[in-house]
């Protein structure tokens, strides 16, 4: 019995680690819709949910309970197998991607060499869930939504990939921890300074990737009801929701890691402030920065109207991709010339 436990111990510890990431993550994901509803309400001059618990704090629990007890409807004309796996295919990559995210120096589940590549693969996999959901529902609105979503994700992935190439070139590595460590030495060392256009492109593509306003033409309540998940009900629908919010947090975390110095303190290298804030653990900075970008996501949703489909394609192909290519070339020169302080 004891031998069995010892043998299984590495696995056991891994499972514990996974839980230590997943549980806080899912809690955040569960409360993000509440935050979103509150922020949107505040932008619109309303109060937002405030009936369930103080400040509506238990609203997510009430929502989850409601969705759990609701009937799961399998449309008669749908492809049952695909219809059932689609929510899982959407959610799983959004959660799996967190395996390579370093929360602090050395606090990472899997410190893989090609971490960025893995992240990129995982965020791209999400679109399959959307496609499968839309196709298997056998409903024209769902199908429209899936088609739009797929086309949009594919086009914006290119811009996003190019934006990340800039970071890879600068850091000379695909490992996320290395990338962050290369940015240490002060706020002016962060990659956002030399690569602001790439960051903007990355952020725009990230909004498009996660199908959020102003790029939410895959959902588009006004035109195609709710897009690819229109036929889903109950907890299956909730899974799509969870995936959306997990993805928002994920892309925000990636933005922080690649451009905003990850867990590095913004006061690094500033004589007095650095000592004052040295007690703040790294992952706090990481969370604070990530939370800020998540907030920006919601803020943008409350501000911008939805893009028209052709405008969206034009922006992706004719603006974002050329901008990234030009900037990559510039960065190439900067690296060749060892432009301080980033490329010494």
């Amino acid at each position: 019995m004891i031998e069995l436990l010892v043998q299984a111990e590495p696995l056991f510890i891994d499972v514990l680690k996974i839980l230590a990431i997943l549980i806080p993550l899912l809690v955040c994901v569960a409360f993000l819709p509440l935050a979103e509803r509150k922020i949107l309400a505040y932008i619109q001059g309303r109060i937002g949910p405030n009936r369930v618990g103080p400040f509506g704090f238990f609203q997510p629990l009430a929502d989850a309970l409601k969705l759990l007890v609701k009937e799961l409807i399998l449309p008669a004309a749908s492809n049952k197998v695909l219809f059932s796996i689609a929510p899982i295919v959407t959610l799983a990559p959004a959660l799996a991607a967190w395996a390579v995210i370093p929360f602090d120096e050395g606090i990472v589940l899997a410190d893989v060499n090609a971490g960025l590549l893995y992240l990129f693969a995982m965020t791209s996999l999400g679109v399959y869930g959307m496609l499968i959901a839309g196709w298997s529902s056998n409903s024209k609105y769902a199908f429209f939504g899936a088609m739009r979503g797929a086309a949009q994700t594919v086009s914006y992935e290119i811009a996003m990939g190019f934006a990340l190439v800039g970071v890879v070139m600068s850091a000379d590595s695909l490992n996320l921890t290395t990338m962050v460590m290369k940015q240490s030495g002060g706020i002016w060392h962060w990659y956002v300074v030399p690569m602001l256009p790439l960051f903007v492109v990355y952020f725009i593509s990230a909004v498009a990737e996660t199908n959020r306003t102003p790029f939410d033409i895959a959902e588009c309540e006004a035109e195609i009801v709710a897009g690819y998940h229109v036929e889903y009900s109950g907890i299956a629908f909730a899974l799509f929701f969870l995936a959306e919010y997990a993805n928002i947090m994920l892309v925000s975390a990636i933005a922080v890691l690649l451009f905003w110095g990850g867990w590095l303190s913004p006061f690094q290298g500033i004589p007095l402030l650095e000592q004052t804030f040295s007690w703040v653990p790294g992952f706090c900075w990481f969370f604070a920065k990530t939370a800020f970008f998540v907030f920006v996501f919601i803020w943008m949703r409350g501000t911008f109207p939805r893009y028209r489909y052709d405008q969206l394609m034009r922006l992706g192909w004719k603006v974002l991709i050329p901008v990234t290519i030009v900037w990559i070339v510039l960065i190439g020169f900067a690296i060749e010339l060892h432009l301080p302080p980033w490329y010494v």
Binding site: I43, G45, R46, I47, W299, T303
Partner: protein, 163 residues
Amino acid sequence: MIQKVKMWAKSFTLFELFKGLGITWRNMWRKKITVQYPEEETPVSFRFRGVLALRRYPNGEERCIACKLCEAVCPALAITIESEPRADGTRRTTRYDIDAFKCINCGFCEEACPVDSIVTVPESHYHMEERGENIMTKEKLLAIGDMFEEKIAKAKKLDSEYR
């Protein structure tokens, strides 16, 4: 040319997007306008046309004289009246039904009534629970009138200024 450069500069610095974000940011700190309904309510005009009621004179005599003007004017044909002479010789209704489902709360009956008998009360908190309750009989309308007499009198007084 200069125009074009200006436009490019504007769109590449995301000038307008930031402006929009600024507006929503300011709105976030604005005073909230939510009315927390069951606890708070928005003010209701004395001309609000809510539940229908039949009034009485202070001595308890019903006002309605069965002239049927309200029945004639009702655009939704919601009122049904039957009348007969009462024992004391006055003309009174034996049946006065308003179908609340047909009624559009237009208030024409109130305008038409020569004795201020049928009125719309500035009261919106009423509901029906069973089928058939939508037919408001004479007894029901009179009871509602008794219940809200104070409110009706006040509304009438406030309104008289504008007539």
